[in-house]
Symmetry: C2
Subunit: 120 residues, 2 copies
Amino acid sequence: MSLRIQCTVIDCTDALRVGTFWADLLGRPLGGPEDDGVYWIEPGENLPELLFIPVPEAKSVKNRLHIDLRPDDQAAEVERALALGAGHVDIGQGTQTWAVLADPEGNEFCILRALRPDES
Amino acid sequence: MSLRIQCTVIDCTDALRVGTFWADLLGRPLGGPEDDGVYWIEPGENLPELLFIPVPEAKSVKNRLHIDLRPDDQAAEVERALALGAGHVDIGQGTQTWAVLADPEGNEFCILRALRPDES
């Protein structure tokens, strides 16, 4: 038995737009496009490969899968995400230690609190 | 700027059921539950952390994010996934080199073709 996670795939109306947002957010280059309009971010340390694929349908409901991001400085990274085109979203989370945001096509993601020095 | 992917989060009606499926599929132990009913699979080589969180709503549309898995033996891994409770799904993919399946709550995932020896 051998099965490993190759990548996380994100359906996009505009794969370049969404891919650019995530590449800028993660500080990684965006690859692509392939002939089929697919863009990607290569895997790296603590970063599985991300694929951005064009689909005809728009996002319609809260995503069933989402990505949690770990910052060194939560407030600074939230501000940076907002400046890159993210928005705050309310999915009924109430007051939490994490910030719930969405990318330019509404894909929810969280920026968690920074870890304390004694955490890993 | 420092922001890394901590985990991929999967909303579940039955987090134990979905988490057990993925743990068995990936050959990893399932952790949990926390007091809030969350289960998890710890990160590992080529495996970001997965979190399974209970939510009140059921899955309603094709997921906007999904996971692609790389097998050593595609046919064997598809059979194994089906035996664990996955099902084939048709999202209009036509004939492809990858198999489109869904976990017990309908979360789509793909089992890609095996890599050739000259690929990495």
